[in-house]
């Protein structure tokens, strides 16, 4: 991939001084930078890297992006890792299925079986990391390893600074799996977390804070003309004759889609409006279709509720159009990672109402860029308030866009990575170039 992108493509979007600084900082980075994750497409990490790699190259930094390979068993194991590291609602974690014992002997057998299964999981995980380490050229000055899948590549580190970039919440993990992964991760020179809440106190290495970001020039966020927006809405049979409330999210229980519908129904009694629920079903989520059917059932008979299942997935332009057509955007999650979809909404100048979970409160500053809702009633009250007060909606939307401009765009993310590389080469807290 020899494609590059100039940071000056963002000249009309961010301050010129930031772009100048990116160039100045990049001049001090010497050597090769390597990023490794699990996939080139699908998901937030790949989305960020797609832009990040082009921009690093555009700054004249020799940059490579590799993905780890493995068989179905390996990716099934890393999916399990992901699920049990990422805490669940109320702090409980999802653990692999364990049968109820009927006797002490059964209990023992079950525990031995479980331990054997985990041992096999760990062996398969290390086996594929070893294969990848033999196949990849890891000889780089800075190696960014994203998430747990390739974390054990550190075992063959020869040189350079290695950084473990964690995109998930590992604050409340399954202890056995975390203790297994902690061993390789502790060998890194530093780690990066998206929010302080997602970090671990037991790593023993430097921990930097780098929130994720959106790319304002990607199809998902680029400006659209009214004609383009209308074409997408026409395609899905939506008329813009009444205000639109939208939640873009997977059909997943943790996104609280029934709660969004309940809030909408309360508002609808007072103000004529419509609701778009647009999302897909994750291929590895067995509950997804069930949630979709429950949502359809709850929306039955409500002609102004548009439940849109993206199958095949919606294009990024379509998602962009749904958000831009909206008066209010919702992200009423019960549990969330960073919830970058909130920044996507704010970037379009829309007020966003979200659940106070994960990274959402970093993006929604209550009553400044949107509202945090703690209940269906709270969400309904805030929606109605925004629909009745276009000036308030405009003010929150504008502040939200500025908040994203300064904190959640790819250019800030790029600056953070450059600063971290420089920090690792100069351990002092004040670095003078």
């Amino acid at each position: 991939m020899n494609e590059t992108r100039s940071i000056w493509d963002y000249e009309d979007i961010v301050e010129r001084s930031l772009l100048e600084d990116l160039e100045l900082l990049a001049e001090h980075i010497s050597g090769r930078v390597l990023h490794i994750n699990a996939t080139y497409s699908g998901g937030g990490v790949a989305e960020i890297l797609s832009s990040m790699i082009l921009l690093l190259k555009g700054l004249g930094i020799e940059t490579e992006w590799n993905i780890i390979r493995g068989d179905d068993a390996f990716f099934s194991i890393t999916k399990t890792f992901h699920n049990v590291l990422h805490g669940r609602v109320n702090g409980a974690v999802e653990v692999p299925v364990k049968h109820e014992p009927v006797s002490v002997l059964d209990d023992l057998k079950s525990e031995i079986g479980e331990l054997t299964r985990r041992k096999e999981m760990f062996e398969t995980y290390l086996h594929w990391n070893r294969i990848n380490s033999e196949e990849m050229d890891l000889n780089s000055d800075f190696v960014f390893i994203h998430d747990p899948q390739p974390a054990a590549l550190i075992d063959v580190k020869q040189r350079g600074k290695w950084i473990w970039r964690c995109h998930i919440d590992v604050s409340n993990p399954d202890p056995l799996i975390w203790n297994f992964l902690r061993k390789p991760i502790s060998k890194y020179d530093a780690s990066i977390f998206s929010t302080p809440m997602f970090a671990r106190p037991d790593l023993g290495i430097r921990q930097f804070l780098v929130p994720p970001s959106i790319d304002p020039l990607s199809d998902k966020n680029i400006e659209l003309s009214q004609g383009e927006i209308d074409r997408v809405l026409d395609k899905y049979g939506i008329c813009m004759d009444k205000p639109i409330i939208t939640q873009v999210s997977r059909f997943d229980r943790l996104k609280d889609l029934p709660g969004v519908i309940d809030a909408y129904k309360l508002v609808k009694k007072r103000i004529d409006c419509q609701l778009i629920l647009a999302g897909g079903v994750a291929s590895d989520d067995p509950e997804g279709m069930g949630v979709y059917h429950e949502v359809m059932e709850k929306a039955y008979g409500e002609e102004d509720i548009h439940v849109l299942l993206g199958s095949p997935p919606f294009s990024d332009i379509e998602i962009n159009a749904f958000q831009r057509a909206s008066t209010v955007i919702m992200q009423k999650s019960l549990k969330e990672g960073f919830g970058l979809v909130v920044s996507e909404g704010l970037w379009k100048g829309k007020p966003v109402i979200g659940g106070a979970t994960g990274g959402i409160p970093l993006q929604i500053i209550n009553d400044v860029t949107g509202y945090l809702a703690h209940s269906v009633d709270g969400a309904a009250f805030k929606i109605a308030n925004l629909l009745k007060n276009p000036e308030l909606a405009r003010r929150l939307g504008e502040a939200g866009k500025e908040h994203v401009r300064h904190n959640f765009l790819i250019t800030r993310h790029l600056k953070d990575y450059l600063l971290i590389m420089l920090s690792l080469e100069n351990p002092s807290g004040t670095i003078r170039l």
């Binding site: 001084s17 804070l209 807290g429």
Partner: protein, 216 residues
């Protein structure tokens, strides 16, 4: 006459691993954390506030009202007169005094909800020369008018507190241009009472232009 190169700083957040859920924990951590954490939570927020006013000018005050619902203490912390502190240690002592005084008078058993803890974050500062190079005071004035707000923040707030090397260089250069009185005026400028960094820049420009008028 020597050239003067304007510098700028960019900051990177690093977790300290310390966090607090109530006032005693906040106080204990403030006593221990390094100066760059004090700087980050008091001054970095000041820089952020130039585009997004949220009512409280520093992270401690904001957390105390938002997570602990202690408006009296939040107001005291918000009202810190930053002119009084020649360095970050002096500021740390004053924050400790304010919190201890409050704890002696009020019940402070309230704890923040899970997820609302205060996380102590230090900032790594990376300073580097910008492309702005000036050879005389007129050029310096024109540059200050157009330079970004991060540089204004760096010279007139950050550099003064974090060792002050670049602020001293600016001071030496201005004095070297036969502008001692101007530098005294800039030294006496209180940079914290402005609504935002633009207002601070305007005041600096006003001082320099006023000085020019007086000395033409």
């Amino acid at each position: 006459m020597t050239d003067f190169i304007f510098y700028r700083a960019r900051y990177q957040s690093e977790l300290t691993g310390k966090r607090a859920r109530d006032l005693p924990e906040l106080l204990a951590a403030i006593k221990e954390i390094d100066e760059s954490s004090i700087f980050n939570h008091i001054y970095h927020a000041l820089l952020d506030s130039h585009f997004l006013p949220i009512g409280y000018p520093n992270d401690f005050a904001y957390w105390v009202i938002d997570a602990l619902h202690e408006p009296v203490l939040a107001e005291r912390l918000a009202n810190l007169d930053l002119r009084e502190f020649p360095d970050l240690e002096a500021l740390r002592k004053e924050i400790i005094r304010i919190i201890e005084d409050y704890m002696a008078m009020y019940d402070v058993s309230r704890r923040a909800d899970v997820g609302q803890e205060f996380y102590f974050i230090r900032c790594i500062s990376v300073t580097f020369p910008t492309r702005y190079v000036v050879t005389n005071m007129n050029e310096a004035l024109e540059t200050i008018k157009e330079i970004d707000l991060d540089s204004i923040f760096y010279y007139f707030i950050a550099s003064r507190l974090l060792g002050g090397a670049h602020y001293k260089e600016l001071s030496r250069w201005i004095r070297g241009n036969n502008s001692h009185e101007l530098m005294e005026k800039l030294d006496n400028l209180y940079p914290y009472g402005f609504a935002n960094m633009d207002a601070l820049r305007n005041e600096i420009v006003r001082i320099i232009e006023g000085y020019f008028w007086e000395h033409i």
